[in-house]
Symmetry: C3
Subunit: 348 residues, 3 copies
């Protein structure tokens, strides 16, 4: 596939500075792109690598200096333009065949939309609803009474339990489990008794959920993942949690019951949240942080127990000086001993 | 569905203080319950919210003050009574159809009990035994020679490997894997050679196992989860571990090989255990703790490396004072400098 | 099954010191082995237990003292000899039936090798290639255009996504997902836009991958797990990572995008790696470590943020002395106060 740089610029955005007729054969990372390819520089500090790339054209920030050696596309968000170009050269393929595979099983009173792709051994329970253009991979399980919106992709082996509600354009990767029972028990005479988990899970539009993620249904009410949130692999969301709009959560993070994460929050990998926490809009949580107190909007926290990141860095730095502090305390003691001795001798 | 408060009290327990004929239409959390519903207060410090709830009746601790505005049910364990009421209003439904689905596959010499529910694409290996009333969801896999007891529920996509033994009334959530090979290798000339994992896994009665949990089979002997233990989602139990009776473990906790957890232990999320650890009965392990030494019975540990929680709190508090300590050491130095200077001048 | 000690020694290696005709009925751990069985001592400090074992023969390090009570096999690597003996007594069984199960589904233009075992409900996509002697358990999914080498074992419910390349003798445990989309988004006006993940995953020969592991495909290029690497359960490998040859990684470890782990690295459980990290050959990473800086070859790191293990231990030790430091600073202050007072009084 070949496109001219002018066509790419028109379809992907940005302002062209160079040859609109330049033929482009593909896209690549700056260190791997070959002649005839398009690459990008999102961070101005990498502009120094411009001279070294073999790529013929480069997407750069709007204020980048001119580069006589390359055709440029200028943009406020070079990575966004690059993403669009990447799609041009890799148009979405139908991963899984169209139609309903004869080895799929569809329950009673299920409402099936148009243009579906339902793979072999998929199971759609009684009373389910599946929206137009949705793809259910091989072996996907949809429990009784659940609904999946339009143009979703549920990859093979996804489990959606009963009475779960999934919006439009949701992507769920292999092995994820949505709607398993919340972890709720009452101790009575040394034995734990299961509390029925009669709530549900709601996944709003444009959410993406990674492989082998687990999202538990609520005890009462709902667990909710809001519009545009993106969850990486192996994340645990406990019963009655809520994850805000356009919030991104990296892999292996876990949150205990009834925790509420705000909108536009960014959470790094392996972070943990105690139950009933509240994390404000725009907050940032560092990797492996252990959040046991509410996080105000816009705050960045790190460490265990998680505290404002600046404070954590100060502690970190002070921690490095502890051996020195021990030495200094010892030296002070010695000087005091000597002073006291001298005063005793001099009879002061 | 409607029940009178008197009927609920008779079926769920507790002592009624109020109108036995009060019709109750459902149950809810204190802040969400509506008029005509029943709620509960387990912790006396929330009794102040009693005035605000819209619920018509409230389950309270035995020593709660009288509340003229509401009918009360008094109990030593209000949450337990609430759980029973929740079950009354949400009687367990058959999630998955009864009988053996024609698209299930049953191996040779399998012993199948009565009243089974075996979903589509479930696979039961040769020589397996499945007890009366057990439910195997869609796509559940049971390896050759494994046995599952009575009245178990294995949700869709659960994998039970070969020769695993599962007791009665065990619940296993979607995607959990029981009996995968332990992680055992012998290094020889820079290459790791796999040690065959010829042991097994035993899951005792009344255990619940969360979604996408992994429990490895023993190298020799067995990995064992004892009666009534409850494991949350995404937990790792390595080969030859043992988890005690009525022990609860929160999500994403992991234990390395041959670790033994006692009875009635409580472990919070994302905790980790080195291999060959021993954790005594009734111990408590905080979230994200890293256990690298044995934990005595009844001890609460936290931090990395995990230590008695009080000691960890003292360290935490001292850590907060490190910048202050640095300042104080500097001040002491200055005062000593001055003293020494004065003594030098005064000729002492 | 019975073998003589002489036969075992000939087949498993080591030098015999004792009765070659001794009949051996099985193998066991030192504390569990019974009369007539063979056990081993790998670590010289456990030689003291030799007197207590009921086993009739023991594999010991070459320099162990003679033991008149037992027949011995001497070896430079007793555990390796034991592993070989374990295989002799537990020859690999065909876990899953031979042939292609009629309920498996094979796509168009798939190239299938000889002597396959393909379980019920396995799905092999269009254009796949499966090498001779490979086993695909029940419900295994292989996406379009992927290839799996010879003599692999993919346990039930493994998901291999499209265009993934898997070498020979690879073992993948239940529920693992290979080739899910990398976690890549471009923020633009407060919304995250998905970056198509058009790269792949390459798993080289002799790799073992644990249950419910997730390995994401690259954005561009490849994610690669090199020859002989062993990954435990529930591990996350993000897009564009590379794991070196004969590297072992314990359960629940996670690495963010584009991180490169060298050869012969050992990583303990629940460790985390930030993106774009580089870990040198032969490095060791402790459990729960949070790696946010490159690790040089051969270095052992621990803690969060991960630092050289010796430094971490020094900090740990100093941390334990903080309450004492606080007390000492207070004592020094008091002594200074007194000195200053005395000098003031004595008019120095």
């Amino acid at each position: 596939m070949k496109l001219t740089l002018g066509e790419i610029c028109r379809l992907a955005g940005g302002d062209l500075e160079g040859d609109p007729d330049l033929p482009i054969s593909g896209v690549g990372k700056i260190e791997e792109a070959r002649e005839g390819e398009l690459t990008f520089i999102a961070n101005p500090k990498y502009l120094k690598y411009l001279g070294r790339t073999k790529a013929s054209a480069v997407i750069v920030p709007r204020d980048a200096p001119p580069a006589p050696s390359h055709s440029l596309i200028r943009s406020d968000n070079p990575y966004f333009v690059f993403m669009k170009a990447l799609i041009l050269f890799n148009p979405p393929e139908a991963l899984y065949g169209r139609g309903i595979h004869p080895a799929a099983i569809v329950g009673q009173n299920a409402k099936l939309g148009k243009d579906l792709s339902i793979g072999p051994h998929a199971v759609i329970g009684d009373g389910c609803s599946i929206g137009d253009g949705t793809v259910l991979g091989a072996g996907v399980f949809i429990g009784n009474g659940s609904s999946v919106g339009r143009e979703c992709i549920l990859h093979p082996h996804v489990s959606i339990r009963e009475k779960v509600i999934i919006g439009d354009r949701v992507i769920i990767h292999n092995g994820a489990v949505i709607g398993s029972d919340g972890f709720g028990f009452v101790p009575e005479e040394g034995v734990y008794h299961k509390i029925p988990q009669v709530g549900t899970v709601v996944i709003e539009d444009d959410v993406e959920i990674g492989a082998n993620v687990t999202i538990d249904r609520a005890t009462l009410g709902e667990t909710r993942i809001k519009k545009g949130a993106k969850l990486d692999n192996l994340i645990q969301v406990a019963h009655n949690c809520s994850v805000g709009e356009h919030t991104v959560i990296a892999a292996q993070t876990g949150m205990a019951g009834s925790t509420t994460i705000g909108n536009h929050v960014r959470i790094a990998g392996q972070a943990g949240f105690a139950g009933h926490m509240s994390v404000g809009d725009g907050a940032v949580v560092a990797a492996q942080a252990g959040v046991v107190k509410d996080v105000p909007p816009g705050e960045m926290v790190s460490g265990y127990p998680a505290r404002p990141h600046r404070e954590e860095l100060r502690r970190e730095a002070a921690g490095a000086r502890m051996p020195e502090m021990l030495r200094e305390i010892r030296a002070l003691k010695k000087r005091l001993d000597e002073l006291e001795e001298r005063m005793r001798k001099s009879g002061c």
